[in-house]
């Protein structure tokens, strides 16, 4: 009589477990598939609002600097015939009414000298007055990112469309950089000073 090996159970996993795994896998695929379709249907929605990044003005719109007194213009009236003296010195004959207090700088550190209304960068590039921010930010480089982002300095125009970036020199006098104090507008009236259609408050208040 042949001995029958004792039943030790099916070496393969039971059928119901297999089915469970298959179902689980199918469900997972379905969920992932749906998710993928959803992503497909909703492309990046983070740009459906008006964004400043989409505006055409990548470069700042620059306002002209404040005009110089007419008596000095054009520069060539005086400076055309004179040879350029590049020795730093205190001005005594001309421009002596102007106040200068910008570190140790003197005229020709910034002004080109040999070109009308031009500034000279450290690498000898000449830039017009309208682009003076390029000169200023050679030293004040830390201010540049904030100014470009519109957080340092002033902007006018539109919060979503083109806006004017105010040039450094529109607010800071390059020759005398510290902000000058201003006369404030009148203070608000105190409650007891406020009148109602011309009648002083004490006459309208009741006991």
């Amino acid at each position: 009589m042949a001995s029958v090996p004792p039943d030790r159970g099916d070496p393969d996993p039971p059928r119901h477990l297999l089915v469970t795994w298959l179902l689980f896998g199918a469900a997972l695929l379905l969920v992932l598939g749906l998710f993928a379709v959803r992503m497909e249907q909703q492309p990046n929605t983070s740009r459906d609002y008006p964004s400043r990044a989409m505006l055409p003005h990548a470069e700042p719109v620059l306002l002209p600097p404040p005009p110089m007194e007419d008596e000095y213009l054009p520069c060539s009236d005086c400076h055309a015939d004179e040879p350029i003296n590049r020795t730093p010195r205190v001005l005594e004959d001309e421009h002596d009414e102007m106040e200068f207090a910008h570190g140790d700088l003197w005229c020709l550190h910034c002004h080109a000298g040999d070109e009308e209304r031009r500034l000279r960068l450290a690498d000898d590039t000449r830039v017009p007055f309208e682009e003076s921010w390029r000169l200023c930010t050679q030293c004040h480089a830390k201010k540049l990112p904030g100014w470009r982002a519109g957080v340092h300095g002033k902007r006018t125009g539109s919060w979503r469309g083109p806006s004017e970036y105010w040039n450094c020199v529109a607010c800071h006098n390059p020759h005398l950089p510290p902000f000058q104090s201003l006369e404030p507008k009148p203070p608000p009236l105190r409650p007891e000073q406020i009148t109602l259609s011309g009648v002083p408050a004490e006459e309208t208040t009741h006991e």
Binding site: R52, R155, R160, P186
Partner: protein, 311 residues
């Protein structure tokens, strides 16, 4: 009595009340229309029966805007246009103010007065510039210590700093929560507005506001005709009648057309910043990311959209 007949009865009662209101209003309107009361800003039937702005249909808003434009044009003798431009999708406004730059010159206060047709007498200012001792600020700012009445020849005064305060346009605004008539609410773009025709002047909102940003109109709107700003918004700078509350609206008439608020453009030191908080490229988002910002009375959890920062 069945539910249905009860409902019908209620409906009829409602209808008769409406009728009653209408006839009374017409009577009062006739009185108001009597000679001597020809001022164009006076009471009228349409205003009396007007719905809350949020319940109006587009046609009703259009009709109202037309009516007001006509009325104000007549009253001030120039072409006034009132509009009701709605919020822009995907925009929530935020304001930034650099307290390291503000010099307390009050240019913003008066730019606001002109732009928003604020009453000159009795005087109303939506912006208050508070002056603080620098020393005191080291121990923390208490708004109670701020002095709005400083009167120097030149500003900034020594050892002082300045903090302009107007409506903070809170996300969780105490003022709108307490309004009994639903006359004030927050728009989808974050601006807290007032329906001046629904305000009953109870001033609960003024009591609720922790920033003193709301102001009561004690007198008739008092702006010289030649100084009236004719670009008006229904929920913004149109003349407020006597007995209603008013406040800063972020210049709703300007910003919803893409412009900066008036105070922003008036600031001589560029301390004021404005933009769309949902736009990562905007000025306001840049400063929220890169600067040390704070809001006033953050412990109250009103979540203002007005951010002060130290540039």
């Amino acid at each position: 009595m069945s539910d249905r007949s009860q409902r019908r009865e209620r409906k009829e009662r409602g209808a008769s009340r409406r009728e009653f209101l209408k006839t009374t209003a017409v009577g009062m309107g006739a009185l108001a229309g009597a000679p001597g009361a020809a001022k164009a800003l006076d009471f009228d039937v349409e205003t009396f029966l007007q719905k809350n702005f949020r319940r109006m249909s587009d046609e009703e808003i259009e009709e109202l805007v037309g009516r007001l434009s006509e009325r104000y044009s007549k009253a001030y003798g120039k072409t006034v246009s009132v509009d009701a431009t709605g919020p822009i999708d995907g925009v929530v406004y935020g304001y930034g103010l650099d307290i390291s730059r503000c010099i307390g010159c009050r240019r913003c206060v008066y730019a606001c007065v002109e732009e928003n047709n604020l009453s000159r007498d009795p005087q109303i200012h939506w912006i208050r510039v508070l002056e603080f001792e620098r020393e005191a600020a080291l121990r923390g700012i208490d708004l109670e210590d701020g002095n709005p009445y400083y009167d120097h020849d030149q500003v900034p005064a020594e050892d002082k700093f300045y903090l302009p305060v107007a409506c903070q346009h809170c996300e969780d605004s105490p003022c709108t929560n307490v309004c009994p008539t639903g006359a004030t609410w927050q728009e989808p773009d974050g601006i807290v507005v007032i329906d001046y025709d629904w305000c009953i002047g109870c001033r609960y909102c003024m009591a609720a506001c922790p920033y003193g940003a709301r102001h009561f109109n004690w007198g008739e709107p008092n702006v010289p005709a030649e100084e009236i700003n004719p670009d008006m918004h229904l929920l913004g700078n149109r003349p407020r009648s006597r007995g209603v509350v008013e406040k800063c609206s972020f210049c709703i008439q300007r910003v919803r057309k893409g412009r900066y608020p008036a105070c922003h453009e008036a600031c001589p030191v560029g301390a004021r910043k404005f933009g769309n908080m949902l736009d990562p490229e905007s000025e306001i988002r840049y400063l929220m990311k890169h600067k040390r910002t704070f809001v006033l009375k953050s412990d109250l959890n009103t979540r203002p959209k007005f951010f002060y920062f130290y540039g």
